[in-house]
Every structure is written in C-alpha cells, then in structure tokens.
Amino acid sequence: MAPTTHSLRPLSCWKTIFRHTRLQKAATRLLTTQAQPKRTFEESKLIAPRRKSNFKILGPPPALKFKEPIKDVTNAQLAILDPTNARSTLFSKTNPEAAHVGDILLVRLKTGDPFAGVCINIRRRGIDTGILLRNELTRIGVEMWFKIYSPNVEGIEVVQRKEKRARRARLTYMRKPKHDMGSVQNIVLAYQRSRGALRGSGGAGTLGKDELKGGKRKVKGKGKR
C-alpha cells in the first residue's frame, strides 16, 4: 500500500514519503516496547545467549579442595620434625607453661656442644619459628638464632624463668652494657648438675622421655617459686 507517487515530478512527493517513514518508525518502536512475559528466576539464571548460538559453553571442572597448600606443607613437615608436638607447645602463645622472652633456654644440638642463653626474641613463623639466645662465652657476647624445628636441634629446655614477665616482645636492649646479663654459664651448669642428679635417681631414660622429664621439672620449678 505504498502511496502513489508522481513519476514525472518525483521531488514533489517528499513530504508524503517522509510522513510515511515517520509513521513506520513509530510503529516499529511500539512493537519492540510491547510488554514481554517476565522471565522467572530459574530462566534468568540459565546461561542463555541472546542470539541463537551453535556452540556449547562448558561448565568448569570441579575445583581442588586444597585451598591452603602452605599449611599442608608445613603440617606435613611438622609431623616429621615434631611428632610429639613438644616444641610447638613449648613456644605456643596459648600454653601458660610456654617459654617466654627473658627465660634462660638451653638448646641441645645433635652436632656440637649445647648452647644456652637468655632468650631475647621469639619469631613465630610456622615451620620457620626461631629463637634468639644471648650469652657471654670467653667474655665475648655471642648471639645465636635457632630454628626450633630444625633437625639439628635435639631438645630445648628451660633452665630458668624470668621472675617478672618481660614487658617487651624483643629484649634487644639487653645488648647494651647497662642491661646485659653477662654470662649465664654458672646458672646453666648448676641446672645441668641438678638435672644429672635427678636423672641418676630416676634412672637413665630414653631421649623421648628425657624431654618429658624436662617438662615436668619446669612445673616443679614454678611451684617452688
């Protein structure tokens, strides 16, 4: 039903043509904005491409359940290096019997002599947890970091506890001459002698029992004070 146009005078009919297009455009607009049935929630959730597609979108394969591999690796290591959980409890923050900064600790090593000193820093980093001990040997100040889970460390014992809780997390001020404790060798030697006597009375124990005994002694020592 196109409007009749004059073939001889084509320009005269512009007005008619324009009106016709306008009307057509309005009609199309009406058509597209017609009310559509509302999609349900399930329908909208479906991955439905707007246009018809000839390919299928695959869902992702199931994800791995192991979200914290660092923890897994650390725990696997701890199971080998600290099977009795003795070291972890000795330095755990929740344990009231734990070793604290300011205590005198003795580290028995697999290779070489044991090293004892005042603990002036505890660095808690999972498997990399370390303690900083300070002592004076042959009148020279010596500081050593030990990784508490290192296989070279045979055992860690508390020789003497600090009477009052240290009010700092790191006692680096103890390096200064004013606060330096000096040598703690005498205290450690006395401790080792008393421990030797204790062991003599109780009978020689195996290595694992040894550590347990050390723990018991700690409790006793605390009760005395």
């Binding site: 040997l137 042959t138 020279i140 100040g141 500081e143 050593m144 970091w145 030990f146 990784k147 296989p151």
Partner: protein, 149 residues
C-alpha cells in the same frame, strides 16, 4: 680495626685488604664466584676469610710492664706496631647464617695472625671462634682455640 686474639703480640689490627673474591668457589657451595663485587655486602669479609692487616697496637705481656720492660716486650712479641701481616677472621659482628637456618653473631670482630704459608704466628688463642673455620680449611686455628661455636 679489629681485635687480634692470639699471643703473637698484636692487640688491635687494621684491615687493609680482603683476599677472597673466590670465596664461593673455595667453599664449594656450587654458586659461581662473584665476578666483580657490585654491592657493599660482597666486599664484606666473613669468618674464615683471609685478610691483610696492619698492626696498630701491641699487647703487653706479663705484670712487668715497668721501665725496661719494653725490651722484653719486643722480645716476646713476634710482631711490632706497623707490621703488615696476613690474618684470618674468626669472629664477626655481622650475622652469619648456617645451612640449617641458625645464625651466629658475635659482639666484636676478631682475627688471628698467620704467616704467608697460612700457619698461625701465635701459639695460643684466647677467645671463642666460629666453626666456619673448619669448612674453610683453618683446622689448625680451630684446634688452638679454647672454644668454638
């Protein structure tokens, strides 16, 4: 300036040269030697490194340090002030990490004088030394030391 802890006669010496640069290859750590050192840390010398020192202060032995003791002192001392000698570093303030993650740090820097052949000049040491000396083939110094760590 670092302490000298043997009985060669020197008390305080000054380091004038570090003779290493091939340290990595010497220990056999597998890492290639650091060709020209580019950071400050590479110039540092650690326990077991050989250095060249100048004796700055002599040690006085025995109680007889009155007048006329200077002759005996010079006789007892194997080195004199101003001597240029080789030495081995035995203690450092700089922290030194070991393979198991433990770290050792001393409160002073100290060395032991040696001759060109690498034998210690003194006969006794007074003071603790680092165990790294063994790894660096200085077992003789290690056996002289009263204690090692």
């Amino acid at each position: 300036m670092l302490n000298c802890i043997d009985n060669s006669g020197a008390a305080i010496v000054e380091c004038v040269q570090v003779m290493k640069m091939k340290r990595a290859a010497k220990i056999g750590t597998g890492s290639p030697p650091l060709s020209p050192p580019h950071t400050h840390a590479d110039w540092c010398c650690l326990i077991g490194d050989r250095i060249i020192v100048v004796v700055q202060k002599q040690r006085n032995f025995g109680p007889e340090s009155g007048p006329g003791a200077s002759v005996s002192t010079s006789a007892a001392n194997k080195v004199r002030r101003g001597d240029i000698r080789h030495a081995v570093v035995v203690r450092t303030v700089k922290k030194l990490q070991r393979t198991d993650g433990s770290v050792v740090k001393f409160d002073d820097n100290a060395c032991v004088l040696i001759n060109k052949a690498g034998e210690p000049i003194g006969t006794r040491l007074n003071g603790i030394v680092g165990t790294e000396l063994r790894k660096m083939k200085w077992s003789k110094i290690l056996s002289l030391a009263p204690m090692h760590l």
